[in-house]
Amino acid sequence: MDIRTTGGPATAEEMAAVDGLLGEPQPADHRVVHGGRAMRSQRHLLLPVLHAIQDRAGWVSRGALEYACRRLSIPPAEAYGVVTFYARFAPQERGPVALHVCDDIACMLAGAKVVEGAHGAPCLGLCDRAPATLTERFGEAYEAVQTPAREAARQPGSRLLRRVGVVDPDSIDSYLQHGGFAALKLAREMGPAAVIDEVTRSKLLGRGGAAFPTGRKWQSVADAPVRPHYLVCNADESEPGTFKDRVLMENDPFALVEGMAIAAFATGCEKGYVYVRDEYPLARRRVGEAIAQARERGYVDFEVEVRRGAGAYICGEETALFNSIEGKRGEPRNKPPFPVEAGLFGKPTLPNNVETLVNVLDIVNGEFADTRLFCVSGQVLHSGVYEVAMGTPLRALIDLAGGLLPGRTMRAVLLGGAAGSFITPDQLDVPLSFDGTRAIGATLGSGAVMVFDDTADMRQVLLRIARFFRDESCGQCVPCRVGTARQEEILERMLQSPNGDGRADVMLLSDIAQAMRDASICGLGQTAANAIASGLTQLKVLNG
């Protein structure tokens, strides 16, 4: 490929960052060209390279991007499309520190304000610490620091959370002392087919939000004749109000590694990826170190790589995530083909959520019980992750989190995050199960439970959700790209003049919602109107 670069040279620092990741370039010899295919086959390293540049220099300059393009044989226009797709990459020069202030729902309720010079950010997954920030210091010793926890990790769960706050997340020996890798040992004795049988029999449903039967997915990948098979752990937890996977990865990373090892063993995956959102630096470090320690002791015998997201909610959608790992814009793909036939790099792929994989340990050990993690945040006494049995009434879960603040009354609960819907105070006895929530037109989604009391400005909450989808739409398909923009504009107009032409605007929103639901490529567009529709009809936000 003839790559034209006119942006001038990269700085020595930028080149060092790229070479540090890719190795020193071959000495130039203009009589012959070597390694075109080898260079192109590294295209999937574009995001890691961009991170390396930005971690060092604070931004991605034209010279640096073009240098990266020459090293990876990527057209600069295409690479620029990738840089500008991800919110975390800055194509403009900026200072050595970036402060990201979460201004999403939970932090907004906690009074977050984006100060001058800071960047407003969608949910940082730190709702239990609201208002939350993420600070990045660029340079040779790049560091990213999250708002620290105010209290030690709580352990309100018995199964999935039993090691949280108990084991030393940095030590494999500590994990082994708490029964670690017993499930993997057992799985290897049972053989792949028996493991898949157990998973199928457990009736485990995926915990990422779509609730697909895990056993069926595993069977499909195991049966796929094409090789290699890929395992992709989806740790791009970006649904507003969701932070359970972060708690697992930060406090019990070896459990995830063990779950991945079992999954790879059972389905014959030659290579695995853990795609962790950029906003989780601690989780990323701990999982990476856990993989290294487990490999050293022989528990991980397949290739696993931790990949870092770059600020895109849409990359939690499995096919967008594959594109992101491949070094492309995180645009979802049309299905079919489904990931189990043609996923990452076009090969059979097993995409599983963090909580799903951790569940596998207990299934193999014969200790599985159908409990689930819920992230309770917003206006409750003790925000945090709680593990309760499926079917537990919502009211009991909120009581577990200490209930409302003194003297307040309940206004609403947002179940399932921005892609979920609102529950009214008279629906608090809904059992937290797939069928129970479906019966009242709601969804468990990713397990986000956001509580609002009578002091919450629900208009601002609805507007924030509308802005969230407008910001996070990938822009590929028309219903979502323009629909989310129109949805926000119309909602804003309605909230500003409640006595205006309300009925016509409600009709417009419902027309847009139906087209987004029916004709969008992926789940983002298909659910982008849910919470707003339920806010307007269930909560009657306009009327009160």
Partner: protein, 281 residues
Amino acid sequence: MADVTLTIDGREVQAREGSTILDACRRMRIDTPTLCQLDTLTPVNVCRVCVVELEGARVLVPACSRKVEAGMKIRTDSERVRHSRRLVLELLASSVDMSLCSPQVRGWMDRYGAAPGRFGKQVATVAQPVKVDNDLYVRDYSRCILCYKCVEACGVDAQNTFAIGVAGRGFDAHISTEFDVGLPDSACVYCGNCIGVCPTGALMFKSEHDMRAAGTWDESKQTVTETVCPYCGVGCMLELHVQENSIVKVTSPLDHSVTSGHLCVKGRFGFEFVQRRGAKG
């Protein structure tokens, strides 16, 4: 390849395995609106105006890319299909200047009752100044519906030059060179194949752009002369669009076996030599 049997709008049809629902609809003469689809490009299924209802599917499916399967039951004119097609056209037309689209597109707008004005006046659009940075063609992205066709034609589907890509995200997504540099600084080789596939007039010969600005562009006065490009031995077929004895633009038919509609800079823009346009001649 074997044939499969499926049902479209209540009628049973045979279709080649591996072909798309759109292919089957066209063979049945069901007029299916498309914007991002072109027979010479890989389907990207992003505009969603071709969606149809597939029995058993939760959401509508894009006819342009979904392959036929035996036993499929498809409806192309149900209430849901009409609604989504109408909304796609309305959403696009409310944000993009679609006035230079083909009469066919306007026909679809009428058929589905699209009223883009109903979202109100204070809505975001992609309006922006025309980019004029070279003598051969202009880029008016206020007419861009983001169909990805130009990116595909510049890339592996035709030219393999990769001078443009999709940048930004969401409503801010747009076609761009790296860091939005002008075309002379980009990898562009001025083959003009992006103009050839653009369905909205966002990409346009500078000659056409200037004549439109001067009010002299008049398609009723134009004739089309077919000829073969004289520059090399490939044998590309050219269609010379002539107005008042002057070549105003050059195209090639999509279905031509040599070009598939694509040309190079000499065939596309070499006509300037024929008529010695410009002061220095």
